[in-house]
């Protein structure tokens, strides 16, 4: 089958390209440079932070699922994913061995134990199952396996680096590490049988071939040729059943609510919570971008559906008023890009004073540190018991947490930020 295709395409540029790719040094050069670029982008060491979103945006799997779930697609995403999509229609899995950095790592790990038997061909094509369930889930508004996208896993590894190596900080990196361990245990199984991006490309390739065979039947060109064996139908009964399963699972997953009483504080620009937990690919770009180290991998305070999504934990830093870095790097638009001006005017939470802990309200101490640190003049002083006591102006409060981060009340802070559905705050005076 492949041999046939290659003969057919002998004259086109694709063949020349693939012919060139047979040379080892060209292969090494292409893979090496694309891997290096991937690392540089994921590390966000370039002055243009937005480029961190480029790599995951290449994935047609992410593009399809997130566009369906959000019922919209950003132009940037379509423009980056479309070439990969089209090439997959024509050539199937061309992306993996050319550009995918996770492939480079998994392949290297797979070759470390040449004696290990892969036996991946005896495994069912789990990747396709995952991709189809994910698509079904996307229709239900929660694409289930976006976090298994190899490009997200790759970027997730780098989100850990600037943090102290605690168990929680290592969580986003665990995906790629598991893939590598799996590749050591069962070489090539990840790429060939589990990766949903690879499976999506397989699908697209099959589809492309079907279309090609139907439009240019081989028999019409050379009647002597027997009709090609039609590949298994791409969209069959199994596909539908899995997709419906995914659709139902999207609702089931979101039923496991969190136990914590107050909702998570999401990064500024986050879309509404229900969609956010679905769209987020857990790529960790925003975690890496956060200079103030307040974005953390969420361990279930937003329910099962929100596992691994970014959530703001105030202390010791807060969501700084001169920073919009995390809004610039989201590949799927779960966090919308905000200008600095827009970021300064969005409320991501609201501060609440607990009078029984506040040293001004309770003890009559001169404090007002919350008012002092508030970047938005959202805390007013009222006189009580001979001391100024803080009151939050809910319209002005952006929920940045500057107050909470500095509140001297001990052991529990007297002013804390609760997550809210993000909304525009009252514009700043002056």
């Amino acid at each position: 089958m492949t041999a046939n295709l290659e003969q057919d395409g002998a004259s086109d540029a694709g063949f020349a390209l693939r012919h060139a790719f047979r040379r080892r040094w060209i292969r090494i050069l292409v893979r090496g440079s694309s891997f290096t670029v991937a690392v540089v982008l994921a590390m966000q060491i370039l002055p243009w932070r937005q480029t961190a979103a480029l790599l995951p945006r290449l994935s047609p799997f992410l593009a399809l699922c997130s566009a369906i779930a959000a019922r919209s697609a950003s132009r940037a995403f379509v423009l980056t994913a479309l070439p990969v999509f089209l090439l997959a229609l024509a050539r199937g899995r061309w992306f993996c061995a050319t550009l995918c950095p996770t492939w480079v790592l998994a392949n290297t790990a797979s070759r470390l134990r040449p004696g290990a038997r892969s036996r991946f061909s005896s495994w069912p094509r789990f990747g396709q199952v995952l991709a189809v369930i994910g698509l079904g889930g996307a229709v239900g508004g929660y694409p289930l396996f976006l976090w298994l996208d190899p490009l997200s896993l790759f970027n997730g590894f780098f989100s850990t680096l600037p943090r102290p190596a605690t168990l929680a900080a290592l969580a986003p990196a665990s995906g790629l590490i598991l893939v590598l361990l799996l590749s050591l245990y069962r070489p090539h199984v990840w790429c060939m049988r589990l990766c949903p991006l690879g499976a999506t490309q397989d699908f697209l390739g099959q589809m492309g071939r079907c279309v090609k065979n139907r439009m240019f039947p081989r028999s019409a060109r050379d009647p002597a040729d027997p009709p090609p064996p039609c590949p298994a139908p791409v969209v069959g009964r199994r596909f539908f059943l899995l997709a419906i399963g995914g659709f139902l699972a999207a609702f089931a997953v979101r039923r496991f609510r969190s136990v914590s009483p107050s909702p998570c504080i999401r990064p500024p620009g986050a879309v509404n919570e229900n969609l956010f937990v679905g769209l987020c690919t857990r790529c960790g770009n925003c975690l890496r971008a956060c200079r103030y180290r307040i974005l953390h991998f969420d361990f279930g305070s937003s329910g099962l559906a929100g596992l691994g999504t970014p959530a703001i934990q105030i202390t010791p830093g807060y969501c700084n008023e001169w920073c919009n870095d995390c809004t610039q790097v989201c590949p799927v638009g779960a966090i919308q890009p905000l200008t600095l001006e827009a970021k300064r005017n969005v409320a991501i939470g609201t501060a609440v004073v607990e009078k029984s802990r506040c040293i001004a309200w309770r003890d009559g101490q001169s404090c007002m540190v919350c008012q002092e640190f508030c970047p938005y003049n959202a805390i007013r002083a009222v006189e009580s018991g001979g001391a100024n006591c803080p009151v939050v102006d809910d319209e002005m409060c952006r929920g940045c947490g500057a107050c909470e981060s500095q509140c001297p009340a001990f052991p529990d802070k007297a002013i804390t930020v609760r997550g809210i559905q993000q909304r525009a705050a009252k514009p700043l005076a002056v």
Binding site: M368, V369, P375
Partner: protein
């Protein structure tokens, strides 16, 4: 009454004499505090900040009365906030720059400027314009980190018995406190006494245990060689961070007595100095004179 014999007379005379001997010491101590050059406050009016600084220092006795060439000079301006010079939340960068330059001209190789900022230090230093001003003038500006503090006992303090104080503030030949005057939600006003909160590690403890007493306590240990208050523009609402309403007294206030300097500056806000609890406490603890009727305030115009 029994007649006193010679021995008794001598005993009483010795005791009384020694009491008399004790008294002069105390009164000398007080006299030192009331000497013109310590309690007087020089107020320089004008808009040309480098010239105002020059004039003020001249009247205070010139740089040579604060340090000799080669000695270490530490400046503690207020660079707490990520806020522009026009907003008045930080010390005027022109003043800091001019002072660093003047110290260098007077023989200090590299004046040190340090601050435990409230906003992230990089932002505060950049937006305040002080990073650029200090660099241009040839000083060294840095943000205080955990390693830069030294735990220090404050034996004369009432509450703040121990504090982690910036080592460069503790060990220098000449310490210049260079606050900006502005209103403060918690403390009422922040001028020179309160400016030291930017030279300690744990500010929260001050708030928890009694802010005003801690502010006064700190000055039992740290006595600056010179105080220069930036009252070129003063934030009168939404302090200490702003943005808020500004007024423009166009003054620099020079002095050695922090209580007197703060008391005078408080009047720029139309406040009675003793209405600010820490000024009152500091006055009562004998850290300086907050009673303006006893302070020699002299005005100059340049």
């Amino acid at each position: 009454m029994r007649k006193m014999n010679r021995r008794q007379f001598l005993e009483i005379a010795a005791a009384g004499g020694s009491l008399l001997l004790l008294r002069p010491f105390r009164s000398t101590a007080r006299a030192v505090a009331s000497l013109d050059h310590t309690t007087s406050v020089w107020v320089v009016h004008g808009t040309d900040i480098p010239r105002m600084l020059e004039t003020g220092i001249e009247r205070m006795g010139g740089w040579s009365s604060f340090f000799t060439p080669g000695q270490k000079v530490t400046l503690k301006p207020n660079i707490a906030w990520a806020s522009t010079p026009e907003q008045g939340a930080n010390t005027n960068p022109t003043l800091v720059g001019a002072c660093v330059a003047a110290c260098r001209a007077a023989g200090c190789t590299e004046p040190i400027v340090c601050e435990n900022t409230c906003s992230p230090s990089e932002q505060a230093f950049r937006m305040s314009g002080i990073a650029e001003a200090v660099k241009k003038a040839g000083g060294r500006l840095y943000a205080l980190k955990d390693k830069d503090y030294r735990t220090t006992e404050l034996p004369k303090a009432k509450i703040l018995k121990k504090a982690d104080i910036a080592a460069d503030v503790l060990d220098c030949a000449c310490l210049i406190n260079m606050p900006v005057a502005k209103v403060h939600g918690g403390a009422g006003l922040t001028i020179s006494l309160k400016n030291w909160m930017g030279a300690v590690k744990d500010r929260g403890a001050w708030h928890r245990t009694g802010l005003h007493q801690c502010i006064a306590d700190f000055s039992t240990r740290i006595k600056p060689s010179l105080i220069i208050v930036d009252a070129t523009r003063i934030l009168v609402t939404n302090g200490p961070r702003g943005p808020g309403k500004l007024e423009y007294p166009d003054q620099l206030v020079f002095g050695r007595d922090p209580v007197a300097v703060d008391a005078y500056t408080a009047t720029l806000f139309n406040k009675d100095p003793f209405a600010i609890p820490y000024i009152k406490i500091a006055h009562e603890m004998g850290l300086g004179c907050g009673d303006l009727s006893k302070v020699n305030v002299k005005h100059l115009h340049v």
